[in-house]
Amino acid sequence: MSVAVDRDQQFVAELRRIADDVAGRHAEQVDRDARFPFEAVDALREAGALSALVPAELGGGEISLAGVARGCLELGRRCAAAAMVFAMHQIQVATLARHLEAGSWFESYLGEVAGDQRLIASVTSEIGTGGDLGRSIAAVTPGEPGRLRFEKQAPTVSYGAHCDDLLTTVRRSEDAQPGDQVMVLSRGSETELEPAGTWDTIGMRGTCSPGFVVRAQFAPQQVLGFPFATVLSESLVPLSHVLWSFVWLGIATDAFERGRSFVRESARRRPGEPVPAGTRLSRVMSELTMFGAEAESALRDFLLWSEEPGRERLQTMSSVLRFNNLKLAASEQAPRICAEVLEVIGIAGYKNDSPFGVGRHLRDALSARLMVANERIHSTDAGLLMIAAKER
């Protein structure tokens, strides 16, 4: 037990170092040029962090999900794009690790993730499905002898041009219904990404997430055997909402820290005089504390419910509501905190070249409401509320 705790602590300390020394140093350029955070991802590879959630017997770090969530927060404090790339990759790895069948192709694949520190991108959204992860249009079809293939029109693929492999949702077969899905892991060498659009956005610019037409040919064993609906409810959705929230918490935490530095500096200049901005900062702090508590409690619920036999509770509608509520709250709190800090700091916070600038934080945090649009989540929740109770 204490060995695992030590391992977690070392991991978080290492991620903090990478965040401070590497990701933070390049964050402004990554944002300005909308380019991939190569330096941070290379440093994460070097630290073996891309296989943090792979079991030790497959060569991975066997870090706890709580440790990885803290890592997302640490990176989020310094470079939101690097943090989001890290979080998205970990969501893919954790999903594969949680639904692993002994002796399967995916077991040896996770060994490769550990050995080669392979970066996995996900291709879930699709043009024509209205953002519903539970439906696909693209389908698995026969390919060359012994091989399968698909072609999918993806409106965004985060770091698609920079990943090693891709995890894609598609219909099981040509005659399958839209909701009858599977996940396919295709290697970069088996996948063609035809660019279809640009990524010149107001924030999260370094995630480099333009659209692509994705075409892949792969072996049948690269189709994840586990029923996708179960993967979605037990892993993909709650994991995404938990790890994304920690990234957003990191962004808000650093915005608050900048506000605090600013207020301290003002106070030092005029010792003994009241600092009105301090009162406002105190309100930001209370909101940040609630945000942190919500993220922590969702993480704890997820871990607890994952330990239950059959992970029964994660399959219930109240569990869907629970993690949707985390996402809704976190994605609204993060940009609100950044905007409030901007008012605490004033013009120095509005300047991009000031040490108190929080413009990037605000722009990055605004993406939270859109990655799985909150309107869509509210509409799902409205339906579920007709029948299920909110988790108490």
Binding site: G134, T316, M317
Partner: protein
């Protein structure tokens, strides 16, 4: 399984599940989601079942697997009916 129960379940599915095929072409153990029932439609099915059988599903039963087949739904409804009796 109680035949009348199963046929009532099928009636509810015909009206609310929005399946891609006629529910009577599916056997009691066919996967309704694979037959085209969406998550949204499944909520309407649950509401209609509660109304039809005058029952209320507890939260622990409100999960996809419980509503995956005609047999599964009938078993869930039967269990709640028995508890009420």
């Amino acid at each position: 399984m109680n035949d009348r129960l199963a046929s009532e379940v099928r009636r509810v599915l015909r009206e609310h599940a929005r399946l891609a095929v006629d529910v009577d072409t599916l056997d009691d153990h066919a996967d309704l989601f694979r037959a085209g029932m969406s998550s949204h439609a499944s909520v309407n099915v649950m509401l209609a079942l509660e109304d039809t059988f005058d029952i209320e599903f507890p939260d622990s039963m409100l999960k996809r697997s419980m509503f995956e087949t005609v047999a599964g739904i009938a078993a869930a409804v039967g269990q709640l009916d028995a508890q009420a009796a």
